[in-house]
């Protein structure tokens, strides 16, 4: 059963071929047997999952169910889950039992989904390899010596290894798309404001967005429909009517204008990935898409601008962790400053400290204009680049990541080298756009991700294009050895 997609599971539940309790057992059993080698879960909520599955079966018996009722899911440990440890991958929150549910968790719960547990992640979502987690690195199911990507590395690993049919993730600079790419999955970062940030532990609030990671565009669309929507509890939630992202999956993409940004195919891109993407472009042409070259001239400035904006916002957001109200508190504090600075110094890992310090510096007196305002000005240039491009193209296509999954430890010594792995994803967050990654082939035995970028609130079109591509290709059906 674990081999089939989420949509197929939904149909199997509909036809009473399996119960949610049985299905949940299958996944819990796989996690218990296999996750020792992946480390994709921080917490497994077996008992709770059993209870939720029984409830889902009752709902289905009563005919009071939706398509997701009874399907298991794993949540990234950045989402608050009432009564369940919510660590955000940090020692700081190792003892934190969330007193409420994030909106995303609540919505998926209301849809009847069964929570299997909480997935591993880079500490406070700061990382591109899942190596900054307090709970240790996650291994890529396609090659255990390699990273799954990050920061939603545990979520991507769990779905790729068939330990869960789907998982939630969050994306501040590529944290859904890059791990989806490196693990051979489909994942979408929605438009800023489309998915509620309530109960999603904040990293950089003007960039953070939650979204699903699954095996196909079809599965992703169904999950996004349940996750997205206006939420009064998030002051940046977009006030627009609910949308059914599955409604246009089968539409023709005849005449769809696809733009290829020349800046995404230059220096820095692994040439073998370039070959994979080119062949995917040909596939889209065969489906009727019209392809042209476009330009996003300020792409090279996106990582520098991001590493001012995101750390600045993080230094402010993470100021709340003070050892007083919740989270880690140091022992034997001599005075109040010692309590604050030692709780933070001992509770946060090195990458989180680096970003807090960069942000603190960028916002400090005399430097604010030169760093923070400068970065915000560049942010506008980047957004304007996209708006010009969308006059010529409906969808922008390129690679998700410049390389396939890299080796554990390969980039941990040099923060800047690690930052460069997000070169194709970061500008999208700065511009607040939706983008998805889908599998488009392999280099050796490692999956390659293709990115589709849309204009604001253009998720349905991206999912439509991805679904049509997946109707004529089978990359998304491939599973790592021993998992299919």
């Amino acid at each position: 059963m674990y081999k089939i997609s989420l949509i197929q599971l939904s149909r199997a539940l509909d036809r009473r071929e399996i119960s949610s309790v049985e299905l949940t057992e299958i996944y819990l059993d796989r996690i218990a047997r296999m996750d020792g080698k992946y480390n994709s879960f921080i917490t497994v909520t077996a008992e709770l999952a059993g209870a939720q599955a029984r409830e889902a079966d009752q709902r289905r018996q009563a005919g009071n169910n939706g398509p997701l009722t009874g399907i298991p899911i794993a949540h990234k440990d950045i989402f608050c889950t009432r009564g369940v440890k919510t660590s955000c991958g940090s020692r700081m929150l190792d003892n934190f039992i969330a007193p409420y549910d994030a909106t995303v968790v609540e919505k998926l719960r209301r849809a009847g989904m069964v929570m299997l547990g909480k997935t591993n992640m880079d500490e406070f979502a700061m990382g591109s390899s899942n190596e900054t987690s307090f709970y240790g690195p996650v291994r890529n199911p396609w090659d255990l010596e390699r990273v799954p990507g990050g920061s939603s590395g545990g979520s991507a690993c769990a779905v790729a290894a068939r330990l869960a049919p789907a998982a939630t993730g969050t994306d501040t600079g590529g944290s859904i798309r890059q791990p989806a790419a490196l693990c051979g999955l489909t994942g979408i970062k929605p438009t800023y404001g489309a998915v509620s940030r309530y109960g999603m532990i904040a990293y950089a609030s003007s960039l953070d967005q939650g979204g699903p990671i699954a095996r196909s565009a079809e599965d992703t669309a169904l999950l996004l429909t349940a996750m997205a929507g206006f939420d009064a509890r998030d002051s940046t939630s977009a006030e627009r009517p609910a949308e059914d992202y599955s409604a246009h999956l089968d539409d023709s993409i005849e005449g769809l204008r696809i733009g290829l940004p020349r800046e995404f195919f230059g220096e820095g891109l692994d040439s073998q990935i370039g070959v994979v993407i080119e062949s995917a472009v040909k596939q889209f042409e065969r489906l009727g898409a019209v392809v042209s070259e476009i330009s996003l001239p300020n792409t090279r400035l996106s990582i520098p601008a991001y590493y001012v904006v995101a750390p600045a916002e993080c230094s402010s957001n993470l100021a709340r962790f003070d050892g007083v109200r919740y989270g880690y508190r140091c022992h034997g504090a001599a005075d109040i400053n010692d309590l604050f600075s030692r709780s933070r110094g001992e509770g946060f890992g090195a990458e989180v400290k680096r970003r807090i310090m960069i942000g603190t510096y960028a916002l400090s007196a005399g430097y604010y204009d030169a760093y923070y305002l400068k970065a915000q000005r560049i942010r506008r240039l980047i957004r304007d680049d996209f708006q010009r491009a969308f006059a010529e193209a409906d969808v922008i296509l390129g690679p998700t990541s410049p390389t396939v999954a890299f080796k554990l430890g390969e980039k941990t010594d040099d923060p800047v080298t690690m930052y460069l792995s997000d070169i194709y994803t970061i500008s999208i967050n700065l511009a607040g756009l939706p983008a998805l990654s889908l599998p488009a082939g392999f280099v050796g035995r490692l999956p390659v991700g293709l990115q589709l970028i849309g204009n604001h609130f253009g998720e349905a079109r991206l999912l439509n294009a991805a679904h049509r591509y997946q109707q004529v290709t089978d990359w998304h059906l491939r599973a790592p050895e021993g998992c299919g």
Binding site: S235, I336, Y368, K374, R377, R379, D414
Partner: protein, 128 residues
């Protein structure tokens, strides 16, 4: 040469830089791209992060390399570009100033390391 850079203070006042050094139009002439150990100590103090002395040189090296990288921003002139804070340029929604959540003090304080009589306890701040 005179630095023609102007700050906007956190309070929103514009002020001349006054460093006496030359700066490109929208950049201060005296920006530090390489941080010393003492700079890291000061930033860590501002950020309330206790760092071990042994780690300071490595942080100084890493933060300097990040700042040098970020410096690429100054290869473009942005004098006439307005800062963008919200990607969709929407303003934050306000709500009526009424209580919407019930009292959950006990549930929330159960998470704290040290609470007495409904109060969060910290080391003594004021000497008597």
């Amino acid at each position: 040469m005179q630095c023609n850079y102007r700050f906007t203070s956190r309070q929103g006042f514009e002020q001349a830089c006054g460093c006496g050094k030359f700066g490109i139009p929208d950049r201060h002439g005296d920006l530090k791209m390489t941080l010393e150990k003492t700079d890291v100590e000061r930033i860590a103090w501002l950020a309330q992060l206790k760092l071990s002395d042994n780690d300071l040189p490595e942080y100084a090296r890493q933060l300097s390399s990040i700042l040098a990288f970020v410096e690429q921003m100054n290869t473009v002139d942005t004098v006439s570009v307005a800062p963008l804070a919200h990607p969709l340029e929407l303003s934050l929604r306000l709500r009526d100033d009424v209580v919407t959540e019930g009292d959950q003090r006990e549930a929330f304080q159960a998470l704290a390391a040290h609470v007495e009589a409904g109060l969060y306890c910290v080391p003594k701040v004021i000497d008597t």
